[in-house]
C-alpha cells in the first residue's frame, strides 16, 4: 500500500521508515522546503547556522537509533558533560554532571542535606522512569473493548507495577498528580536545585511549577532520560542533521519524500479516506493517510467538518493546545561570559543553561501568562550549539539558542507581530543579568513568537508538544478518550505526531508506536480486501 504521510517532522519520518520496512511505500508530503518539522538547522545570519526551534533531543529512543542506523549515516550525537548549568541571581552556578556523584558534590556547596539525598532521588527517578518507559512504548489500551492482547499487556503492567515494591508504587501514584514544586520540595531545600529539576515538569507546557499534574510531565520526561536535570543531547550539525538522516533512512527503506508539497485537505468519502488535495490544486489518491500534524490542525483545518461527528469535533476543539513557549536565536560575536562560571567557562556550558533561579521565580513567570501577558522575568532554557559544533558559525563566533517561557499564544489586547521586539528585548535583558555584556555581542537576533510557531511551523496554538501534556490529555486520553490508538473516526486516517501517546517531544516514540498500529491495521485491511 502507498500511504500518504502528512508532514516530515521527526515522528512522521520515523513512521515512514517503519511503514516502509513493513513493505509499504509511503509518500511523505512536507509543506516546507526542508524535512525536519521542528527539528531543523537553518541559516540564522550570513555565516551562522543554528537550531531554529528544538535544541536538544529527548533523547531519541534507542530502538529508533538502532533500527534507523543513524550513527552509520554519519550522525554524531553529543551528550555534553556537564549536562546542565543552573544559574542564580547572586552569581552562583549549580552544575549537573553526567555522574550523579559529582553532581551531588556540586550540590554540597549549596546544601549538605540536599547533597545527601540527591543519589536516592536519582535512583527513584530511574526506577520510576524505567517502569513508565514500558507504558511509553505501548499503545494505550482500548477502554471500551480491551482485546485479549491488551488485557495481557495490562496484566503484565500490573505485575511490573507490583514489582516496583510498595514504596515506589505509591511514589508513582502520588507523584503523578502532584505539582512538581511540591515534589522537589519534599526532597530538596535549595531553591535553584528545586527549580532546575522542576523545569522539566513545565517545559513546553502551559503550567507553572505549582500546577497539579506537572509531576507527571517530569516522570514522562524521565522515561527518555532519568537524570534529574534532563537530557542535553545534540548532534553535530544541529537537530537538522538528525532529521536529514531520519529522512535518508526512510528513503532507503522505500519511502518517497516530497518537500514543498502543502497538503490543504484530507479527502474523505463515506467515512473512509480517499487521498489528499494539495494547495496547488492537485490531488493524490490513497487508501491510508497518516497525519504528523497536530490533532487540531488535522481535524479542524485539513478536514471538511461534514466528514466528522459534531461530538468528535467538539472534543478536538476542547483539546488544549495553546502554547506559551517562544524562541530567540542569537548570532554572537564572541562567547558570552556568565557570572558564577569563572575560567574554563566554555567547557562548562556545552550542555543546557537553566535560567529560572527559584520556584517562585518560575511561578511568577507563569502568572503573567494567565492574564494574557508575557513574563517580564522569563524562564529560559539556553544552549550554545557552536560549542558542540564550531562549524555552525565563523571562527570564534557563536550561536545561542534560547527557549523562553511564558509567552502566551493568546496575548491579551496586543498582537504578537507588534510585540515581537518586546519579547526579544525581555529575553536579552534577562540574559544580561546572568551574562553581563551579552547584548553588545549580539550581531543578529531572530525572534520566533507562538504565532510564528503556528503560521510557519504549523503548530496549532504555537504548542511545541502538539497539545498540553495534562493528565486529561495523556495516555488513553491523548488526543481524546477512545481515540488514543493512532486511529481516527475516519477509516484509513491515522495520527503519528506528538499529539498522540506518549507525546514526549523529541523522542520519536509517537511515530514509532503509530507505525506499529498502522501496520497492524493495514494488514487487516489487506486481508479483508
Amino acid at each position: 500500500m502507498q500511504p500518504i504521510i502528512i508532514g516530515a517532522g521527526h515522528n512522521a519520518l520515523i513512521a515512514a521508515f517503519y511503514l516502509a520496512k513493513a513493505g509499504h511505500t509511503p509518500i511523505v508530503l512536507e509543506r516546507q522546503g526542508t524535512v525536519g518539522g521542528a527539528a531543523i538547522t537553518e541559516a540564522l545570519a550570513p555565516g551562522y547556522r543554528g537550531p531554529t526551534l528544538a535544541h536538544a533531543f529527548g533523547p531519541l529512543a534507542a530502538a529508533v537509533l538502532r533500527d534507523m542506523q543513524l550513527e552509520r549515516r554519519g550522525v554524531t550525537f553529543v551528550q555534553p558533560d556537564p549536562r546542565l548549568v543552573a544559574l542564580t541571581l547572586d552569581g552562583r552556578a549549580l552544575i549537573f554532571r553526567r555522574d550523579d556523584g559529582k553532581t551531588a558534590e556540586a550540590i554540597r556547596a549549596f546544601s549538605a542535606a540536599d547533597a545527601a539525598k540527591y543519589s536516592e532521588f536519582c535512583a527513584v527517578l530511574r526506577t520510576l522512569g524505567a517502569f513508565l518507559a514500558n507504558l511509553v512504548e505501548m499503545t494505550p489500551p482500548s477502554i471500551d473493548r480491551p482485546s485479549t492482547g491488551e488485557m495481557w499487556e495490562l496484566l503484565k503492567t500490573g505485575r511490573r507495577f507490583r514489582s516496583l515494591g510498595k514504596r515506589n508504587a505509591y511514589r508513582l501514584l502520588r507523584w503523578g498528580p502532584m505539582a512538581v514544586a511540591d515534589l522537589v520540595g519534599e526532597w530538596f531545600e535549595t531553591d535553584v536545585l528545586q527549580a532546575a529539576i522542576a523545569a522539566r515538569g513545565i517545559f513546553g507546557t502551559t503550567m507553572g511549577p505549582w500546577s497539579a499534574g506537572t509531576g507527571t510531565v517530569l516522570l514522562l520526561n524521565a522515561t527518555a532520560d532519568p537524570s534529574p536535570g534532563g537530557s542535553s543531547v545534540t548532534a553535530a550539525g544541529g537537530p537538522g542533521a538528525v532529521t536529514r538522516a531520519l529522512a535518508d533512512a526512510a528513503r532507503e527503506a522505500g519511502a518517497e519524500i516530497r518537500t514543498g508539497a502543502d497538503v490543504a485537505r484530507i479527502l474523505v468519502r463515506d467515512g473512509a479516506v480517499t487521498g489528499v488535495a494539495l494547495a496547488d490544486g492537485s490531488e493524490l489518491a490513497a487508501r491510508a493517510v497518516v497525519s504528523g500534524a497536530d490533532p487540531k490542525r488535522t481535524f479542524l483545518k485539513l478536514m471538511d467538518p461534514v466528514d466528522l461527528e459534531p461530538g468528535f469535533i467538539a472534543r478536538i476543539r476542547n483539546y488544549r493546545s495553546s502554547g506559551t513557549a517562544a524562541k530567540v536565536n542569537l548570532a554572537l560575536g564572541a562567547l558570552p561570559s556568565f557570572r558564577g562560571l569563572d575560567g574554563g567557562a566554555a567547557a562548562q556550558i556545552r550542555g543546557r543553561i537553566h535560567i529560572g533561579p527559584g520556584i517562585d521565580y518560575l511561578e511568577r513567570a507563569f502568572d503573567a501568562s494567565k492574564y494574557g501577558g508575557m513574563s517580564t522575568s522569563p524562564y529560559l532554557d539556553v544552549t550554545i550549539p557552536t560549542l558542540a559544533d564550531p562549524s555552525l558559525a565563523p571562527s570564534g563566533r557563536h550561536v545561542m539558542s534560547v527557549y523562553m517561557q511564558y509567552a502566551p499564544y493568546a496575548l491579551r489586547g496586543k498582537t504578537w507581530d507588534a510585540e515581537r521586539d518586546a519579547l526579544g528585548d525581555i529575553v536579552l535583558r534577562t540574559l544580561e543579568e546572568y551574562a553581563p555584556g551579552i547584548t553588545t555581542l549580539v550581531e543578529h537576533r531572530q525572534v520566533i513568537t507562538p504565532l510564528d510557531l503556528e503560521r510557519t511551523y504549523g503548530l496549532t496554538g504555537g504548542h511545541i508538544l502538539h497539545g498540553e501534556p495534562a493528565l486529561d490529555q495523556l495516555f488513553t486520553m491523548r488526543p481524546t478518550l477512545g481515540w488514543a490508538q493512532y486511529r481516527t473516526p475516519i477509516d484509513g486516517l491515522y495520527l503519528c505526531g506528538s499529539g498522540t501517546h506518549p507525546g514526549t517531544g523529541l523522542t520519536g516514540m509517537s511515530g514509532r508506536n503509530a507505525a506499529r498500529e498502522i501496520t497492524r491495521s493495514l494488514k487487516k485491511k489487506r486481508s479483508s480486501a
Binding site: 477502554i143 502520588r174 519534599e186 499534574g213 472534543r315 488544549r320 492574564y371 493528565l471 477512545g482
Partner: protein, 538 residues
C-alpha cells in the same frame, strides 16, 4: 480489664458519628473533646450576646443520607433548611443570580449568554450522571492497589467495571472531572466569565489551589450529588446553626450509650507492644480501651499523641509530608440591618441563598496569586450566607448574622503573624464587601475574625486546614491520609483514624466516621469472635 471498648479522640461530627455507630453495635464507647462544646468545626456559639455564629463550618452540603436515616437524626432535632441560590454581584453593576428553579436560572443566564443558558441544562444532566457514578465510592473503603489482597483486587475490578459501564461521553466527562481544572472544564461548556468564575469557586474551597489548577474540577460534582438523594438540597442550613447538627448526632450517640466528656484534652495515646491501649489526658489521668479511634488529623495523632518512636520510619515520613496548608479564614458579623447591594437593591430573596464574591476568573486567580507568595488576598473570594434570614432563631428580631468564608488566607505568611494581621484581614473583607454593598460599614455591630492560626489553636485544625489536609489528588482515596494506610487502620494495632483526614475527606459528610466504624466492627469481630450480640448497622 480495659475501661472501654473504644475511646474516640475528638467530638467533632465525624468522631460523634463514629461513636454512635459503634455504640449501636453494642460497644462501650467514650468520646473525649478538648473544647467546652461538641462539634469541632461544626459548632455554633454565641460570641456576641444574642447572636449565634456558626463560627467555622456554615452550610451543610453532603451529610450522608444513610447517616441521617440510620442515626434517626431528625428525631434528635436535626432540621435542614434549604438554602436556595447563589447570588454573584459584579463590580460593573450587573449580577448573576442562580436559583434551584431551573427555568428561572435559565432566563437569568440567558441575560448573560443565550448559548450558556442552553448549555446549563445539558451540563446539569451530565453532572447528575457523573454524581451517580461517584456516590458509591464515598462509602467504600479504598483498596490498596499495591497489594495482592484479593479483596482489594475485587474492589479495583469493581471500580473498573463501573467505569466501563459508563457511556463513551460519560467516561470522557468523568476522566476530565477527575483531572482537569475547574476553569478548563467549564470552558468547554460555557462562555460567560462570571458564571464560570462563580461555579469554579466551589472547586477551590479549602484548598491551596487556584480555579485554573488541575484537580479542581472534581468538586463541581458535589453540587449535583445532594440533589440526587432527593432528601435535601445540595446546600442547606441547619436550624439553630451548624452546631445543631453536632448536637443531633451527639443526641443519637448518647441514646445509644456513648459517654461524652468535654473539656477533656487527650495528650498521648498509650502504645503497648505496638498496639494502642488507651489515652493519657493533659491533666495526667488516663483511660484504657481495646480500641482507640482518632478523629483528629494525622500530624496530631501520630507525631504528637503517638510519638514518632512508635512509628515505622517510612510512615512517619509520610505523615510529615502530608500537606495541610490552610488557605481560608472566616469573618462572622452581627448586623443591625441587611446589606444593600448596589446591583440589586433591597432585602430580596437574593440575600437568602449564598452570596458569592467571585466576579471573574481573573479575580479568583489573582486572589490565589497573592496567597502563593505568602499574603492574604487583597481582593479575596468571599462566600457569604445570612442564616438569620432563613432561621431567625440565630439573631435578635430585625437583626442579622452574616457568615463570610474567605479565601485566600494562607497559614504561612511571608511577613508578620496572623495575630498582627487579624484586623487588617478583617478590614480587607469589609472593604471588599463594601464595594458591592456600601451600607455594610454602618451596620456592623460586632465582627469576629477567624484566622487560619485560630483554626489551628482553637479547633485543632493543623495549619488551619478545614478538611484536615488538602483535598488534592495525591491525598485522596487510597492515598489518604498516607499511602498504604487508607483503610482507617494505622501501623499501630487497635488505633484507627475516623476523621476528615481519611477517605472520602472533609466537609460535613460523616462518611469517614461511619466507614471507619464499620471497619472497626469488622476487625474486632474477627479478633474477638462474636463477643457481643451485634445489632445491624446498615
Amino acid at each position: 480489664m480495659a475501661n472501654y471498648d473504644v475511646i474516640v479522640i475528638g467530638g467533632g461530627h465525624n468522631g460523634l458519628v463514629h461513636a454512635a455507630y459503634l455504640a449501636r453495635a453494642g460497644r462501650k464507647v467514650l468520646v473525649l473533646e478538648r473544647r467546652h462544646v461538641l462539634g469541632g468545626a461544626a459548632v455554633t456559639e454565641e460570641i456576641h450576646p444574642g447572636f449565634k455564629y456558626s463560627v467555622c463550618s456554615y452550610v451543610v452540603s453532603l451529610l450522608r443520607p444513610e447517616i441521617i436515616r440510620e442515626l434517626d437524626l431528625p428525631r434528635h432535632g436535626l432540621e435542614i433548611l434549604p438554602l436556595d441560590g447563589t447570588f454573584t454581584p459584579m463590580p460593573d453593576g450587573n449580577y448573576l443570580w442562580r436559583v434551584n428553579d431551573h427555568a428561572k436560572t435559565r432566563r437569568e443566564i440567558a441575560r448573560h449568554s443565550k448559548v450558556d443558558a442552553e448549555a446549563y441544562e445539558e451540563y446539569g444532566k451530565a453532572m447528575v450522571e457523573m454524581g451517580r457514578f461517584v456516590k458509591p465510592i464515598l462509602n467504600m473503603t479504598p483498596p490498596d492497589p499495591t497489594s495482592l489482597d484479593p479483596r482489594g483486587l475485587m474492589d479495583l475490578l469493581f471500580l473498573g467495571r463501573r467505569f466501563q459501564s459508563l457511556s463513551g461521553e460519560d467516561k470522557y466527562n468523568q476522566v476530565q472531572l477527575m483531572t482537569m481544572s475547574a476553569v478548563d472544564f467549564l470552558d468547554q461548556w460555557f462562555e460567560t466569565d462570571v458564571l464560570k468564575a462563580t461555579m469554579s469557586a466551589s472547586g477551590i474551597i479549602g484548598t491551596f489551589l487556584g480555579v485554573r489548577s488541575p484537580g479542581t474540577a472534581y468538586v463541581l460534582l458535589h453540587h449535583y450529588m445532594g440533589e440526587i438523594d432527593g432528601a435535601f438540597r445540595s446546600w442547606g442550613l441547619s436550624r439553630g446553626g451548624t452546631g445543631a447538627i453536632s448536637e443531633a448526632i451527639a443526641g443519637a450517640a448518647r441514646e445509644a450509650g456513648v459517654e461524652i466528656r468535654t473539656q477533656t484534652a487527650v495528650s498521648k495515646i498509650l502504645v503497648k507492644d505496638g498496639a494502642a491501649a488507651g489515652v493519657v489526658l493533659e491533666n495526667g489521668d488516663y483511660f484504657t480501651a481495646d480500641v482507640v479511634s482518632s478523629s483528629v488529623d494525622p500530624r496530631r495523632t501520630f507525631i504528637q499523641m503517638v510519638g514518632a518512636e512508635h512509628l515505622p520510619d517510612d510512615f512517619a515520613g509520610d505523615v510529615r509530608r502530608y500537606k495541610f496548608r490552610g488557605s481560608s479564614g472566616k469573618v462572622n458579623m452581627a448586623l443591625d440591618a441587611l446589606p444593600d447591594f448596589t446591583c440589586l437593591r433591597g432585602p430580596g430573596t437574593h440575600l437568602r441563598g449564598a452570596i458569592s464574591i467571585s466576579p471573574s476568573i481573573d479575580y479568583m486567580e489573582r486572589a490565589y496569586d497573592d496567597a502563593k507568595y505568602g499574603r492574604f488576598s487583597r481582593h479575596p473570594y468571599i462566600d457569604i450566607v445570612i442564616p438569620s434570614l432563613t432561621d431567625p432563631s440565630v439573631a435578635p428580631p430585625g437583626k442579622h448574622v452574616m457568615s463570610c468564608f474567605i479565601q485566600y488566607a494562607p497559614y504561612h505568611l511571608k511577613d508578620g503573624t496572623w495575630d498582627e494581621q487579624r484586623e487588617a484581614f478583617g478590614d480587607t473583607v469589609v472593604n471588599t464587601l463594601s464595594e458591592y454593598a456600601p451600607n455594610l460599614r454602618n451596620i456592623i455591630l460586632h465582627r469576629q475574625v477567624v484566622t487560619p492560626l485560630d483554626l489551628e489553636r482553637e479547633w485543632g485544625l493543623t495549619e488551619g486546614n478545614i478538611f484536615q489536609g488538602e483535598l488534592t489528588l495525591e491525598q485522596l482515596f487510597f492515598l489518604r491520609p498516607a499511602p498504604g494506610w487508607s483503610q482507617y487502620k494505622t501501623p499501630i494495632r487497635n488505633l484507627y483514624m475516623c476523621g476528615s483526614a481519611t477517605h472520602p475527606g472533609g466537609g460535613i459528610m460523616g462518611a469517614p466516621g461511619r466507614n471507619a466504624a464499620l471497619r472497626v466492627l469488622k476487625e474486632s469481630r474477627t479478633r474477638t469472635g462474636d463477643r457481643r450480640l451485634l445489632s445491624p448497622v446498615s
